[in-house]
């Protein structure tokens, strides 16, 4: 999209639901699937006299995330109450962090069209989720199962300049969150939520009025929503109109953003430190320990794959999007010693089938060591690449070992020169007409002869040898 000479300035606020067993401030389960209002307790109901108590694991996961996002971790961070009234907010305030958030001043590098760009992260802070309100006719229905689930709100700096960059940033953050196993990162289900702040300006001028976009539940929509909104703002500015600071919702069916129905006055949240909670103190040694135990993160892993395995950038990138996928690749590559082949088989054959069956790499019926075996069978010429494809399908359907399949079905490649010669001689003898035509210049008939040999050998003749011997016999 082009915005004439306007610069689009984008910042993203990502809310990640932390994968804890219990809620941020109470013992209620965070497990999906309980009955309505079943994952509850006096605390999440906001009953008179209920009090919050901080979940240790949520703190740990927040620190882990901050470190993975290159943030500095505050040794003392404070919970604050954000006061407002809404039916799905049981206490009439949300416990969040305001002045003293646990993580600050971080960054991640994203890769877009071969270029690396650094996106700053302003802060990441802990807070609790609200319940869910749905509308049934004119009534509003409230379910508090989600109320109190731990969230980490990750606020980027307004460093993005295009919808693509923003979507890529969101994907990269998701990838990192899944790598360190603190969040599912599922935009559709809501375990990760993405709000966008967009403004436009002429380059060099101060920031324009920002508009907040909500209700974006896929990465594709992140891009589309931003594109729409940026254009809307540019159009308004070009017409000499002002942008109103507001929250707009994205409608994916119409691909538009629209103003929220109710008039949103600027909220006065009256933040103050929550007197029911003590400041969270994290010891330096604890932080160090978490840091030392961080897994290799996606971008680093992709760079290493390029260096260590000679993979092209794109392949390295695809293979490292998910940690399990990267591990699968590496196990395979190490076992068979042929990284390029491993990468191809995974990206072309395996991924297609998994995507069609809506499965993840962990569900793959072909385990990494089995795939490695298959590749070895090709590399040591036991089977041809073409035969390997049928073996692969068989492995996928049955989960069987490739060697067993080759043996059972007698698929071993024929590499015995004399056997191939014999076959070729037979075919040449049986097709004198085509031989004549070929010798008089119809080179395309070569393929016919190859086909005949493959047919006679049930596909098991080594193709290179066939080509070589056939050519030498026909051309002589």
């Amino acid at each position: 999209m082009s915005y004439s000479d306007w610069e689009v300035v984008i910042g993203l606020e990502i809310h990640a639901q932390l994968k804890t067993d219990s809620k941020m401030f109470s013992e209620d389960s965070t497990q999906f699937g309980g009955g309505d209002n079943k994952n509850t307790s006096p605390v999440s109901f906001g009953l008179p006299g209920a009090l919050p108590v901080t979940n240790e694991k949520a703190v740990e996961m927040s620190v882990k995330t901050g470190l993975a996002l290159n943030c500095s971790i505050r040794e003392k961070s404070v919970f604050a109450r954000k006061n407002y009234f809404y039916p799905d907010l049981p206490k009439g305030y949300q416990i969040s962090q305001y002045d003293e958030p646990i993580c600050e001043e971080g960054y991640i590098d994203i890769l877009l069209d071969g270029e690396k760009k650094r996106i700053g992260i302003e802060r990441a802070h802990m807070e609790e989720d609200a319940g869910k309100s749905t509308h049934h006719g004119e009534y509003t229905l409230i379910n508090l199962n989600r109320a109190g689930v731990p969230l980490l709100e990750i606020v980027s700096k307004p460093d993005m300049r295009s919808a693509k960059e923003a979507a890529q940033y969101a994907r990269s953050v998701r990838s990192i969150l899944r790598y360190i196993d603190i969040c599912d990162g599922n935009l559709e289900e809501g375990s990760m939520r993405c709000d966008c702040n967009i403004s436009v300006r002429k380059p060099g001028e101060p920031l324009g009025t920002k508009v907040e976009l909500k209700n974006i539940n896929s990465f594709r929509f992140v891009e589309k929503a931003i594109e729409y909104e940026a254009q809307r703002q540019v159009d308004l500015k070009e017409a000499g109109e002002e942008i109103h600071q507001e929250t707009r919702l994205y409608d994916s069916t119409k691909n538009q953003t629209f103003s929220m129905r109710k008039k949103e006055n600027a909220h006065d949240y009256r933040y103050f430190p929550d007197p029911d909670l003590l400041p969270v103190i994290v010891e330096q040694s604890w932080i160090e320990n978490i840091k030392n135990n961080l897994p290799e993160l996606p971008l680093k892993k992709a760079e290493r794959f390029q260096q260590e395995y000679g993979l092209p950038e794109y392949d390295a990138f695809v293979l490292t999007t998910e940690r399990e996928m990267a591990e699968y690749f590496e196990t395979t590559a190490k076992a068979c010693g042929n990284a390029k082949s491993a990468s191809n088989w995974i990206m072309v054959e395996l991924l297609r089938r998994l995507n069609d069956a809506d499965q993840s790499i962990e569900d793959s019926p072909i385990k990494a060591d089995m795939l490695a075996k298959l590749i070895q069978l090709i590399d040591n010429k036991t089977i041809s690449g073409k035969i390997a494809k049928t073996v692969f399908q068989d492995m996928y359907d049955s989960g069987k070992d490739p060697e067993a399949i080759v043996k059972e079905k007698g698929l071993t490649q024929i590499t015995d020169t004399s056997a191939i010669e014999k076959m070729i001689d037979e075919i040449i003898a049986a097709n004198p007409g085509q031989v004549e035509q070929y010798k008089s210049g119809k080179n395309k008939l070569f393929g016919f002869f190859v086909g005949q040999v493959m047919k006679a050998s049930k596909g098991q003749a080594n193709p290179e040898m066939v080509n070589q011997i056939l050519k030498s016999k026909l051309d002589s």
Partner: protein, 490 residues
């Protein structure tokens, strides 16, 4: 039977242990007194309907010699802020008129675990906001010593119940003096432990950084015993301390040799009435007689205690009371005939109708103090001065062990006398609020009477977690005075 009603917990325990009286007889006696007096005094909002069943169950235990627990068979009143599962919990408000607690507060559970019986829920100023128990939706409470006078507040019902023999002891809560002041007005012992000693889980919150539940009893030993029972770290309340709880009641001393008692000069002003001065002076003589050294200390910042207290308390309260919105429990306005035209109206009508005026006044004040543009000048500033007040106390406790002072400037005042002037009403708390601000333990012990026969208490304050010293001084005063007077209704 009236002997029973004048007995301390220690005395009752003896009678129960020696089988001189049955738990059901005890429960019946107090129930009888409640039936006799509650329509006048109005100390109870609700009475436990299962009381006699529970008491009879203890009878069989007593027969088998299996009555165990520090408070086994002792009938107690609980301020209607502390949740007891299955009992109403109104907070003295219309907005919780129909609320029955589905869980039990930690304090109540600790009492029940020691075998206590719950007589009922005691009346209070609405949401603990008041110093005279005149703001309850369930009617005023009268001072058992003289019905024209207030019992004090906010734990007015809890105090009156003990004074009138309507409970062996009760639990109140103290945010700015709400246990100590009514204890003083009603001639009984009232304790506010160190902030963090007692769990607030299950207690309707007024001001989270100030509230502490505490016992209201006939004797100092009873108060020490009940304090032991209710204190201790609670994993459901992050603001509870992990300090060990000493057996205060077992170590009470009457000999105060070696103890230094500080008299904060800012508490001994002209505002104090003659009678109060006499009673306090007498107490000072007693502690000297018992061997304590008495010195003067100075706490210049306490003059700011009341405004700081009200700034902090109303701010926290304005947020704590947001949950009362008619969505999940409690009162909801009737929208069937006139629907709300906005979500805002849905909330405002329910809360506007459900809360009394004093509560609304404080919520508005607190909301204002936290609001954008005023936060720094009011709430934040108050928190800074609060730290200075606490530090000043801690400094003063370097030169003394316990501070002695009046609880209030005067004995109980007449009902209706101060309710219309908030500033005057708030000034009642002048000697008690700084204790809460600093998180210190404090208590009131009966010191004598005014010329009109109204009780006057002595306030004792100790350093953080030093309740023993405070109990010792109170014990000496009590043992020396041997006050035997009881209200006529007892």
């Amino acid at each position: 039977m009236s002997d029973i009603l004048k007995s301390s917990i220690s005395e009752l325990k003896e009678k129960l242990d020696s089988k001189q009286v049955k738990p059901s007889e005890l429960a019946e006696a107090y129930l009888g007194q409640i039936n006799k007096l509650n329509s006048d005094i109005n100390a109870y909002i609700s009475v436990n309907e299962s009381l006699m069943d529970e008491a009879k169950a203890l009878d069989s235990k007593q027969e088998k010699g299996e009555l165990s627990g520090k408070l086994a068979g002792i009938p107690l009143g609980i301020k209607d802020l502390l949740c007891v599962k299955g009992q109403r919990n109104t907070a003295g408000s219309k907005i919780l008129e129909n609320f029955v607690a589905p869980y039990t507060s930690t304090v109540s559970q600790k009492l029940l675990d020691e075998g206590a019986l719950v007589l009922g829920k005691c009346n209070l100023d609405e949401f603990a906001m008041g110093s005279s128990n005149e703001t309850s939706y369930y009617g005023k409470v009268k001072n058992p010593w003289n019905y024209e006078y207030v019992p004090g507040g906010s734990s007015g019902g809890s105090a009156a119940a003990v004074a009138a023999g309507m409970a062996a002891a009760t639990i109140g809560t103290d945010t700015g003096g709400s246990v100590r002041q009514p204890a003083s007005f009603c001639g009984i012992v009232g304790v506010k432990p160190t902030y963090g000693r007692v769990s607030r889980y299950g207690i309707v919150a007024f001001a989270s950084s100030l509230d502490q539940a505490g016992p209201m009893t006939r004797t100092v030993k009873d108060a020490a015993l009940m304090s032991e029972v209710i204190s201790g770290h609670d994993p459901y309340d992050q603001t509870t301390a992990q300090e060990a709880v000493p057996e205060w009641s077992k170590s009470l001393k009457q000999d105060l040799k070696g103890l230094k008692i500080g008299l904060p000069k800012e508490y001994f002003t002209d505002a104090i009435t003659e009678d109060t001065k006499k009673v306090v002076d007498n107490a000072i003589e007693i502690v000297k007689k018992r061997g304590a050294e008495v010195i003067e200390v100075s706490l210049p910042l306490v003059k700011h205690a009341v405004p700081v207290y009200y700034l902090v308390a109303t701010s926290e309260a304005s947020s704590n009371l947001s949950r009362y919105d008619g969505v999940r429990y409690g009162y909801r306005s009737d929208f069937s005939k006139k629907p709300a035209e906005s979500l805002e109206e849905f909330y405002s009508r329910t809360r506007g109708e459900g809360f009394g005026s004093e509560v609304k006044r404080r919520i508005i004040l607190g909301t204002y103090c936290l609001s954008s543009g005023y936060y720094d000048a009011y709430y934040k500033k108050a928190c800074q001065v609060r730290r200075l007040i606490r530090d000043e106390f801690m400094q003063a406790f370097n030169s003394c062990d316990v501070m002695l002072s009046p609880v209030t400037t005067s004995p109980a005042f007449k009902a209706g006398e101060r309710i219309n002037d908030p500033v005057q009403m708030y000034s009642n708390d002048i000697f008690t609020t700084s204790t809460n601000l600093a998180g210190l333990p404090g208590m009131s012990v009966p010191g004598g009477f005014s010329q009109e026969g109204l009780p006057i208490g002595i306030q004792l304050t100790a350093a953080h977690f030093q309740e023993q010293k405070m109990f010792d001084v109170a014990y000496s005063i009590e043992q020396e005075l041997q006050l035997k007077e009881v209200p006529n209704v007892l």
